[in-house]
Amino acid sequence: MRWLACLLVVLMLVAPALAHADALDEGVRRVGLQLQCPVCEGENVADSPSGLAGDMRNVIRTKLAAGEPDQQILDEFVASYGDSILTEPPKRGISLGVWIGPVVGLLLGIALVALLLRTWRRPRPALATPNGLALDQDAADEFHQFREEFGR
């Protein structure tokens, strides 16, 4: 524990969050990361080396410099390219389905596990005797654990 803390202390001394990049640059990157490059495969506008992405970055820069808020810029791109320009699928229309899937899946999974736990927790008939067998099994388990702990 202590070594880890020391390590992190050193880390923070070595890497102080000093001067930040230019605010406009950051804005272009922030907006660009939310836009899909229309002509490339799975790349966003901020990172894509393509010419179109470069043009889009310039458009974003101009708009940001003119004081437009991020959301308005994104909306304008959606108006001309459609929802698929966004890297984050919007929670509307056909894109809604991609968000619902995992939620439904997880709920089903939780229901299944809960059902399983209920079935498994039914009282077992074999251990009716109050001390004998049950105690032996506990002891055996404990022995096993000790063996593991102390290395056989």
């Binding site: 524990m1 923070m12 001067a19 495969e41 990172d47 698929s84």
Partner: protein, 663 residues
């Protein structure tokens, strides 16, 4: 060359069919000669596919451009050390590589299980399943996507290797990844053999656990090497883009991880028998799916899918495999009941259940997000893009929950945990976490996501350190060994458990690296005339123009930079055969705590007077991810290391005879 290779492939196909028939008939009528003959045929398949692969390698080495595949993927300018990369750089070659590694693994399984014993009942079916897969691959290689297609008039020189493949990362990443996907075939074969024989106890699990762990570590390293390669070569400052090709390779690994955990439920408590079989089957299906997607790029669009020649074959094979396995599975389902019941919700058992739930949830979310664009296009004819924000938002919290569970689960005793025991176990790690977070807070870590993430990592690290400390102190007291020897012996004697902890530490390092680089990445861009500089973090970068060199077949442009007085040279490479596809070599200055990552974007002018444009990133903690990958390997090796046999020696000590024997 073409004829020789083709004969080997078709021969391997025929031999694989014979091995299937021989093994199944031998198992059905208990004819040992037939079973042995089937195994010999499997050895022959190994020999023939090896011969075919060597043929292709030789064709590359002697620049035999009468083979279309060699012509398309190499050129005379290419050095010999790139031949292996060329071998698997195209679809046909990588399928051949896949089939070759499968035949190698088959040979290893046959060799390891050659001695008589209880495992013999499984072997005919294991061989049959592996040979079914091999027959499918050789069918593709022989008749659909053959690497041995001959060109009528051999051209003088080849097209050359894809520029992205010139990086050393690309020489190990694809073979690792393909071998990782392939290697789930072996545990799958054992699962099918268990179903076919009806011997559904622990025997098959004991046999296939090691193969599953080998598959797990190969695929895991394949993924990490892929991230490493992307980080060094693609030049966008990241290492994981949630690209379909990345996702399909991650999914079988996630399910494999779930399997490696849940088999302990069956080994120790006789529970989850049906579940384990189902899990390894789905992991195998996803590996086949992954191989197919990685090699065809179908997920870009449904239209690309129809164009791919191997598409329908893969889909048919996958469909048949799923239907066949499901039929077997439901036929045996009545025999797959649990032996035991759950004693308490606070137990190792329930933590394993939650572990499996989370791994499955993550896998499903990734699967859904990966195929959803296809579904939307097929069903509603609409274009949907699902980018990294989706995967981060959906999988992120589940990964966080997994990290928490990684701290809690291993400290939970089997069957039933008492509250006192839990309080005792978690007291120190929680105190450590609080102290650690306070320190981080003072040092400026305020982002809620980072605080939560680092807090979870600290907690788990605390529990693991406590486990190692407790164990070695107990040994020190019991045996009188000094602490270092006690720690060494502890790991050696309980290698499975402490190897697992090492893997967990590796995962923590990866987790911390991801959190650090996600939350605290800094980025700037600059156009710099000679002598101008840009600053980011504690670095000042001065530009000194560019330098162009011309090694054979390529033009290399180096940006000449000086970072805090030291040279740094990010590169762009223009291969003569692919002038439109320059490849990037990132200028990287790596320290244990952060990477300075400089990409040469472009330039105007030439020589020392050129103005250059740069993208500069500071990526904190990225090297922790690579260190974590090394720990995954180390931990797995420790886990798989054959255990010493101490009991035998102890039993010879005449210490009351019976006491010794009991130990």
């Amino acid at each position: 060359m073409a004829a020789l290779g083709q004969i080997c492939i078709v021969g391997a196909f025929a031999m694989a069919l014979y091995a299937i028939a021989g093994s199944l008939a031998g198992a059905r009528w208990r004819a040992h000669e037939l079973i042995a003959s089937g195994q010999h045929a499997a050895w022959a398949v190994f020999g023939l596919i090896t011969a075919a692969s060597v043929t292709l390698i030789v064709a590359f080495a002697v620049h035999d451009f009468s083979l279309r595949y060699v012509w398309e993927h190499s050129s005379r300018a290419m050095s010999m050390d790139l031949i292996l990369a060329a071998f698997y750089s195209g679809q046909q070659g990588s399928l051949l590589y896949w089939a070759w590694t499968l035949s190698i693994f088959t040979a290893i399984v046959l060799w390891q299980q050659r001695k008589p014993g209880p495992h013999r009942v499984f072997m005919p079916y294991v061989v049959a399943v592996l040979m079914v897969i091999e027959a499918f691959m050789t069918l593709l290689l022989g008749f659909v996507a053959t690497p041995f297609e001959a060109l009528p008039r051999p051209p003088a020189d080849g097209v050359g290797l894809n520029p992205l493949l010139y990086d050393e990362g690309m020489r190990i990443h694809p073979p690792m990844l393909l071998a990782g996907l392939m290697s789930w075939s072996v545990p799958f074969a054992f699962a099918v053999a268990a179903l076919a024989t009806g011997k559904l106890g622990n025997e098959w699990l004991a046999l296939c656990r090691r193969y599953a762990m080998v598959a797990w570590v190969i695929l895991g390293l394949g993924n990490i090497l892929g991230a490493w390669w992307a980080y060094h070569v693609l030049g966008w400052g990241g290492y994981w883009g949630w690209d379909p090709v990345e996702n399909v390779a991650l999914m079988p690994w996630l399910l494999g991880t779930a399997f490696i955990h849940s088999i302990q439920m069956q080994e120790r408590r006789g529970m989850l028998k049906a579940w384990n079989v189902a899990l390894i089957m789905v992991a195998f299906f996803l590996s086949i799916f992954g191989t197919f997607v990685v090699r065809s790029g179908i997920l870009a669009s449904v239209h690309a899918f129809a164009l791919s020649a191997i598409g329908p074959y893969f889909l048919t094979f996958l469909g048949l495999a799923i239907v066949g396995s499901l039929a077997l599975f439901f036929w045996r389902l009545p025999q797959l009941r649990s032996d035991n019941q759950l004693d308490s919700l606070l137990s190792r058992e329930s933590s394993f259940l939650i572990n499996n739930l989370l791994f499955l949830g993550i896998t499903f979310a990734i699967f859904w997000g990966t195929i959803y664009p296809l579904v939307a296009e097929a069903v509603a004819d609409q274009k949907v893009s699902v980018g990294p924000p989706y995967f981060k938002q959906v999988a992120g919290p589940l990964f966080g929950a997994l990290i928490l569970l990684m701290g809690i689960g291993p400290l939970m005793p089997w069957r039933r945990a008492s509250r006192d025991h839990l309080a005792e176990s978690f007291k120190l790690p929680i105190i450590g976490t609080v102290v650690g977070l306070l320190v981080l807070f003072v040092l400026g870590v305020r982002d809620p996501f980072a605080v939560l993430g680092f807090g979870l990592c600290l907690f788990v690290a605390g529990t693991i350190v406590q486990e190692f400390a407790r164990g070695s102190m107990a040994r020190h007291r019991a045996t009188g060994e000094n602490y270092v020897a006690a720690l060494g012996n502890l790991v050696r004697r309980n290698n499975r458990r402490y190897g697992g902890y090492l893997v967990h530490v590796g995962m923590l390092l990866i987790g911390a690296g991801v959190i650090g680089s996600q939350v605290y990445q800094q980025e700037t861009q600059a156009n710099l005339a000679p002598g101008q500089s840009v600053s980011l973090g504690s670095y000042t970068i001065v530009a000194n123009g560019i330098q162009t060199t011309n090694p054979p077949g390529v033009r290399v442009v180096d940006g000449l930079l000086s970072v805090n007085g030291q040279d740094l040279r990010p590169e762009k490479q223009f291969f003569d055969n692919f002038p439109q596809q320059p490849s990037t070599k990132v200028g990287l200055r790596s320290t244990p705590f952060e990477d300075l990552y400089v990409v040469l974007g472009g330039w105007t002018g030439d020589g020392p007077t050129a103005t250059i444009s740069l993208a500069v990133f500071i990526n904190p903690l990225v090297s922790w991810i690579w260190t974590g990958g090394a720990l995954l390997l180390l931990g797995t090796v420790v886990s798989l290391w054959p255990a010493p046999i101490p009991s035998r020696r102890r039993a010879t000590v005449p210490l009351g005879g019976r006491v010794g024997a009991a130990a």
